[in-house]
């Protein structure tokens, strides 16, 4: 079974064009590790030789992309570095991890990007160890370390992808196919020049936290349901323009419906991550 994860972490904004603005619902999803980490040497601290234990490196142009065992870290003292000189080259730290089929997992890594684009990838293998082209799950993140316009012509904070929190996580929620026996975890530089540091890689069970904000000129009611229609949370009538809250410990594969009614009676409905089949968004 393949399940779509169209928005693994992101922001959903919904509003309708009307004379009186209807409620605006903003949802941010945060996967949270919730079990054993299947990754060996996840923080790249261990290793007596030239490279950290448990990790290999796969690269398409060895002269253009190099790895290094960095002395800076999100946690501990070391991290895994990748430096790329070319826009047509890639290089990933890689580790094979045995997984259960038909199971939800979170693959996440803390990444500090000086410049370039990072790929967090789960590439499935079958029991014979063959790569499965049908199971290739990916998450990307990017930072422009430099921009020819910044800072003299444009302020860095004006520029898309220029400002990124150091060691911000890159999350990939996935559900394994029945024929997946092993996942090759790959984390590294994806076809953009630049340097990045990778730390605290996690592959394992996860829960989902949904942070939400509802904006309106007075809110009559906010209700949050799961796909089966069970009420998970409710906010009562308020004159305040904003209602905010969090739902923690949710199973990552679920769908959730947010319904907000303004004092004027306008209703906004949003599904996370998307409506079930047959339901109009």
């Amino acid at each position: 079974m393949t399940r779509a994860w169209p928005c693994l972490i992101g922001v959903l904004i919904a509003a309708q064009a009307a004379a009186e603005p209807p409620p605006r619902i903003i949802i941010e999803a945060r996967p949270v590790p919730a079990g054993e980490n299947l990754i060996v040497n996840p923080s790249f601290e261990d290793g007596a030789g030239e490279w950290p234990d448990g990790w290999a490196f796969t690269v398409n142009q060895p002269t253009k992309v190099v790895r290094f065992w960095a002395d800076q870290a999100c946690t501990g003292e070391r991290s895994a570095g990748v430096r790329s000189e070319a826009g047509n080259a890639s290089g990933y730290w890689a580790q094979d991890v045995a997984v259960h089929p038909d199971t939800d997992y979170l693959l996440t890594a803390r990444v500090q990007i000086e410049d370039g684009k990072v790929l967090v990838r789960a590439f499935g293998r079958n029991a014979a160890g063959e790569f499965l082209k049908s199971f290739d799950r990916r998450a990307y993140d990017r930072r422009r370390g430099t921009h020819i316009m910044a800072p003299v012509f444009w302020q860095p904070e004006w520029i898309v992808d220029m400002v990124r929190e150091p060691w911000a996580p890159v999350n990939l929620l996935l559900h394994t196919d029945p024929d997946v026996a092993t996942i090759q975890v790959q984390v590294g530089s994806y076809f953009e020049p630049g340097t990045m540091y990778i730390d605290d890689v996690y592959l394992g069970p996860a829960t989902l936290t949904l942070d939400y904000v509802v904006e309106a000129d007075g809110i009559a009611c906010v209700r949050i349901y799961d796909q089966a229609g069970a009420l998970l949370a409710r906010h009562a009538r308020t004159q305040l323009p904003i209602v905010a809250g969090s739902l923690e410990g949710l199973p990552p594969g679920g769908r959730y419906r947010f319904e907000a009614t303004s004092l004027a009676g306008d209703v906004t409905e949003v599904w996370y991550p998307e409506p079930p089949e047959g339901v109009q968004p």
């Binding site: 002269t63 000189e85 826009g87 921009h147 020819i148 316009m149 003299v152 012509f153 520029i159």
Partner: protein, 914 residues
């Protein structure tokens, strides 16, 4: 052991080696290469006095197995060539006689029964001190300690080089090379570290040859010196081809005239060099539009051709009217029914390119191949018809990047094909092979007046960039700037236009305030100007329209475009400035952009021998008072205050030969003079007899040269005035002129090409009354075409201007629909005074040295008299007149922007950005 002794021993060693029999030997100034014609093929190199011996000068590697091939024997040798046999292959290396470089031709013949895939590598030893630096045609490595090389042709200049503090050696492919794959760079662990490789596919009984070039260089600016020398070795590849329409200089864009002569004024206002001429054909692949492939959608085909011919003719009076083609696609029906071998297929014969309607919305196209097949014949014949029947001035090639790998029967059998290493390949060719073949064909065509020119969108490999006369980067200069820089290097001096601007994709604009957005846009346009003045990149006409920032600097931007970019800036500064150099000799323009984030007073050194021998004086672009420049044995020093985000543009019009030390300051260089004027300098230096050489404004004539206030003999050739004077070290009393205090005054009186008599009277002349025509334009009976054009051009000036008052920003074709536009009548008859104010256009003698004149004669009805000695001078006089009139009839166009981004910034289709 001293360096000199080492060098001498190296020379002796090399000389001894070169004296050995059976050595292929080539030599140019500063470089000797000797190749042993034994099976070992040992290379010996001497670069500027230092020698080294390396491994094989060339190698062949089998593309299927990856194995290096070893020659069974060397079978022939002479000082000019060597030949080696590799079983069923024969390789020959021959030199070509040149004084300024060493050219080699490597030829490989396949005598075996199978197609052969080969990687041919030429490699040279490097007599350099460690650590040496390298450049692989794309990127620089400051100290090469590991292999550093480029792969492929995309964005790579076909030359690599290495250098130390004293000397450098460059190795590359010759510019005409038709290859799909190459690798350039250096491997410090190899016996011959500097290498250039190409992939070859050779059928049984066939041979392929590749031209290589090697030369030494003095690396004062690293690889830039090597690149500049490559331009000088092959100048015809880095400037628009001789014989093409000289109007190509300028902006490029869309004139959209529909045959309206209003486009003349649109072109003048926004300085068009060429019109892209987007997609005029009926179906993709039939560029000329033939009856057999025509469905009648344009009406009568002959009438349509005539209409197209008319539009090209009208636009062609003021810019190059191009005809667009895109030989990477083909109409699906056209391919299936007529040219099935044009379809790109995989090894199983399946069509591999997807279908879509990407160019014209009413047809379905797919990937096509137009080389070495029936589609090639049709495509090339269509281009010839466009030249000879339609009389177009050039062909514009869309999507001309050139590096895309293409598969199928066409590419597999194409000249210049390559292979993917391994037992199964496949064989492929880059799209640039087909494009290059078309471009070469275009350059053989003439429309009866000019050789056809080539414009290209995004040419970023040697195949397409070297064959383009002008090019565009379909983006802003801040977008994919690396690609833009690679294109600049590949194009050399040729115009390169930045086409679009999409700041909405770069800025997090939804989070920005309207004020921040407007500031970001202002900075955006300031960047365009600054980057353009740094690298000679020009904004398109549609980026100039409605943009006062760009319009203010357009004269400077077009001046550097016309002068031509050089890789070596020839300047060093103590601040981190963007330094640019354009043109040669007294036509040199230097640019210094300040992107440091703060105002600077920069100490600048100019290495003057890049401009020419002697000492130099620098003048501001606008002709005002310039910096004091102190020349000392090849270095000119000056202090320049440069504001943040601004560029100082300097001309170098004064050369003083036979002087090694001198101080010069320009006091006035009135380049825009429309009356007789005086160029003024002051010079000081050790007593010496020197030769002054000064460049005049275009078309100007020198009237007198004074040195220290006294007239001196002079001569003029083209734009340069030459005089011999005695340089003096001391101050000279120059009477009451307080601005000249130190040094000897130099004054050059000149008359500009066109004289404007009584500018104020011209501005007050009643051309219009209440936005209606208030005068008439008179030409002599039976006036020649040049006079008619001059008269119509003045009429069009007012017709256009009154139309844009009603519909600002509209295209010329749309403006034709504005009924209220003023149309000044053009009549023929005697030039005498009439009842109405008149503009009299005439060919004839012009008083004094000027070749054109515009005068206002006060009479019963006032008359403007526009005269020129010939049609060209008359045209110059008309343009000078119109430029004066712009003061009273300003029009900047409009931005023609829309969407939420610009709406948030308070801008729309009719906005003018101040």
């Amino acid at each position: 052991m001293t360096r000199a002794l080492v060098a001498m021993l190296a020379i002796l060693a090399c000389a001894a080696a070169c004296a050995q029999p059976a050595a292929l030997r080539a030599q140019c100034d500063g470089l000797i290469i000797a190749v042993a014609t034994t099976p070992e093929r040992t290379a010996q190199v001497e670069v500027m006095g230092a020698g080294a011996t390396g491994g094989p000068a060339f190698t062949l590697r089998d593309g299927h197995t990856g194995e290096m091939l070893e020659p069974a024997q060397g079978i022939g040798a002479s000082p000019r060539s060597g030949t080696w046999e590799f079983n069923d292959l024969r390789a020959k290396l021959s030199r070509v006689e040149r004084d300024d470089c060493i050219e080699w031709v490597a030829e490989c013949a396949n005598f075996g029964p199978e197609q052969r895939w080969l990687t041919l590598t030429v490699a040279l030893p490097l007599p350099l001190d460690e650590p040496w630096s390298g450049w692989d045609g794309s990127s620089e490595t400051a100290a090469v300690t590991a292999p550093a090389y480029s792969n492929g042709i995309d964005q790579v200049f076909p030359m690599c080089c290495a250098w130390d503090a004293q000397r450098g050696l460059a190795l590359g492919l010759q510019p005409q090379s038709m290859i799909s794959d190459m690798s350039l760079g250096s491997d410090p662990g190899a016996e011959s570290p500097l290498f250039a490789s190409v992939k070859l596919v050779i059928d049984p009984g066939e041979s392929e040859s590749v031209g290589f070039v090697a030369y030494p260089f003095e690396p004062r600016f690293g690889w830039r010196d090597a690149l500049e020398r490559y331009y000088r070795l092959y100048p015809e590849w880095f400037a628009p081809r001789e014989g093409t329409d000289p109007q190509l200089w300028g902006t490029g864009g869309y004139l959209r005239s529909g045959g309206s002569r209003l486009c003349w004024e649109e072109a003048r206002r926004f300085r068009f060099g060429w019109d892209w001429g987007y997609a005029p054909y009926r179906i993709t692949g039939d560029w000329y539009a033939h009856a057999e492939y025509y469905d009648g959608a344009y009406g009568d085909l002959d009438e349509w051709h005539e209409q197209m011919r008319h539009e090209d003719e009208v636009e062609g009076r003021v810019a190059v009217a191009l005809n667009y083609v895109i030989p990477q696609f083909i109409n699906v029906d056209l391919a299936r029914e007529h040219f099935p071998d044009a379809l790109l297929r995989d090894q199983n014969g399946n069509v591999i390119a997807r279908e879509g309607s990407w160019v014209k919305r009413d047809e379905t196209i797919t990937g096509g191949w137009y080389w070495g097949n029936s589609a090639m014949e049709h495509s090339l014949a269509s281009l010839r018809e466009l030249a000879e029947e339609r009389r177009v001035e050039g062909i514009s090639f869309d999507n001309a990047t050139g590096g895309g790998m293409r598969y199928g029967p066409g590419p597999e059998n194409s000249p210049g094909r390559a292979f993917t290493p391994g037992p199964d390949g496949p064989v492929w060719a880059v799209e640039g092979i087909s494009y290059a073949g078309h471009m070469d064909h275009v350059h053989t065509l003439s429309n009866g007046e000019h050789r056809l020119m080539v414009a290209a969108n995004g040419p970023r490999c040697l195949l397409t960039a070297f064959r383009s006369d002008v090019a565009m980067h379909e983006a802003a200069p801040y977008y994919e700037t690396r690609t833009l820089a690679a294109m600049r290097r590949l194009l050399g001096h040729k115009p390169l236009i930045c086409w679009e601007d999409h700041p909405e994709n770069e800025l997090d604009w939804e989070r920005m305030s309207p004020e921040e957005l407007r500031l970001a846009l202002q900075r955006d346009y300031e960047f365009w100007v600054m980057y353009g003045l740094w690298t000679g990149v020009t904004p398109s006409a549609h980026r100039v329209r409605g943009n006062s920032i760009m319009l203010r600097h357009l004269d400077e931007i077009l001046a550097v475009q016309r002068a031509g970019w050089w890789p070596v800036p020839a300047m060093r500064a103590d601040a981190d400035l963007w330094l640019g150099r354009f043109g040669e000799g007294t036509g040199t323009i230097l640019t210094l952009g300040n992107a440091t984030g703060a105002d600077v007073a920069a100490q600048v050194e100019l290495l003057t021998d890049y401009l020419g021998p002697g000492c130099w004086g620098l003048a501001p672009f606008d002709g005002g008072e310039g910096p004091t420049v102190t020349n000392d044995n090849g270095v000119a020093r000056m202090t320049l205050p440069i504001a943040n985000r601004m560029t100082t543009v300097l001309r170098a019009p004064l050369q003083v030969l036979f002087a090694s030390t001198m101080t010069a300051q320009c006091l006035a260089f009135p380049v825009e003079a429309d009356r007789p004027a005086t160029i003024r300098w002051r010079l000081s230096g050790p007593a010496a007899q020197v030769t002054l050489r000064h460049r005049l404004p275009e078309g100007a004539t020198a009237d007198a040269v004074r040195w220290g206030g006294a007239p001196v003999e002079f001569s003029q050739q083209d734009r340069e005035v030459t005089a011999e004077v005695q340089l003096a070290p001391r101050s000279v009393d120059y009477g009451a002129d307080a601005t000249i205090r130190d040094g000897v005054p130099l004054e050059i009186d000149f008359t500009p090409r066109v004289i404007i008599d009584n500018r104020e009277a011209l501005l007050d002349f009643p051309f219009l009354a209440d936005v209606q025509a208030a005068c008439e334009i008179v030409t002599p009976d039976d006036a020649p075409e040049g006079v008619q054009f001059a008269a119509e051009r003045i009429a069009v000036y007012f017709e256009y201007w009154t139309a844009v008052q009603i519909k600002p920003g509209a295209t010329p074709s749309t403006l034709m629909g504005v009924e209220e536009r003023a149309i000044i009548p053009v009549i023929s008859g005697p030039a005498g005074a009439g009842e109405m104010p008149r503009i009299v256009i005439a060919l004839g003698e012009v008083e004094g040295p000027a070749s054109g004149r515009v005068s206002v004669i006060a009479d019963a009805a006032p008359t403007v008299l526009v005269t020129g000695e010939d049609a060209e001078a008359l045209n110059a006089a008309v343009l000078a007149l119109l430029e004066v009139l712009d003061e009273r009839h300003p029009y900047a166009g409009t931005m023609s922007v829309g969407g939420p981004f610009y709406e948030k910034a308070g801008l729309g289709p009719s906005s003018v950005f101040e």
